[in-house]
Amino acid sequence: MSILEYNGGACLAMVGKGCVAVASDLRFGAQATTIATNMPKVHRINDKCFVGLAGLTSDNQTILNKILFRTKLYSLREEREIKPSVLSNLISTMLYEKRFGPYYVEPLVCGLEGPEDKPFISAMDLIGAPLLAEDFVLIGSTVTEALFGICESLYRPNLEPEELFEIISQCLLAGVDRDALSGWGAVVHIITKDKVVSRTLRGRQD
């Protein structure tokens, strides 16, 4: 089993009309053992920028602390909040610096940026190779094949926030319910220019 599959977990982000949605499962496990069922993998950097981290939990926590360090300094020096596209580049650089001894994380960045609050999503591999998509991105090596298929079929562009919530929830739950190493419910954040609505979903509790 690969190190990236040790803890399991999945995270998904989708672009809607004037909004983005990001969701993750809640399982924290060590191979077959489930240790906790309340560990979300999405973290708020600022009101318009969220980071999802899948991969080895230990490295996720370290990288998250490093990201918070860098973004806090950024906002103090620049006197403004970091944009998702800039954060994506920052994380990419941080990961590539460890090219020959990498962090076993697969990050996902999503948010709204610019005066028009344009949606932005991106994902990376463990050495920071960025993937910029217009529709959806997903991370979590144990569920990717299943989730890609489901998202490809269910996703449509220009969904309103409420519809986007339905689609992203269905996609993520269907994907993780078939994976032994992810699941135990999900948390979904819908980010619009005025607010972030967060909901916890109850899926298959296994």
């Binding site: 602390n65 490093k66 918070l68 360090f69 806090k72 300094l73 103090l76």
Partner: protein, 251 residues
Amino acid sequence: MSRRYDSRTTIFSQEGRLYQVEYAIQAIDQAGAALGITGTDGIILAAEKKQTSKLLEPSISSEKMYKIDDHIACAVAGITSDANILINNARVKAQQYTYAYQSPVPVEYLVQQICDLKQGYTQYGGLRPFGVSFLFAGYDKKYGFQLYQSDPSGNYGGWKAQAIGDNNRNAQSTLKTEWKPEFTTKEALHLAVKIMSKTMDSTNLSSRTLDIHRLTLGPNGTILFQEVPEKELNAVLEEILKAKALEKEEE
């Protein structure tokens, strides 16, 4: 007489003084005033924005007030370029502490770190000291609201109220007589504006040349470091100027 020792920053004079440190402090006494006053519910930091030329583009960010972390801010008096180095250092140190201990840095600890850096420049390397004094205002869970002052020697002290920069001795004597421990930030603001109006050039006194920030507790245990809005500042200024005019009449 001891001028031959002045050029070496890291040695004592014959009387046991560090001249370079004293010269740095003198330089700061010429710089724009800054004032810190603690209240029961927060701290007021006030600073004089010295406008050196009409041609200068107004800066978006303050040259006197800086946020170090969510719970610590500071006012600066002295050489701005020196201050920028120290402030950046303070910001990085605060984040390093948070990275290591997953908790906000205690205020005094951070002040000590910066002061240790300043002290180094008075003992090693042959480099001149930093020409900056700081008023650090911060909040932590253990000691609540705290105000610290530090100077180029690397000494620091905790204060109930303190002034640095231009006319600081006058400001300090007024603070000694007029500060009361039961002051809230409202009364502290009033006192700060009153003292600034005495120490600053009266033709320059306006909400544009006065930069006043408040450090208080917000909802949900957050800490707020916010500029006192122009309207509120103007209202306090009016009260002070009226009181001054009355005093003059009585004389």
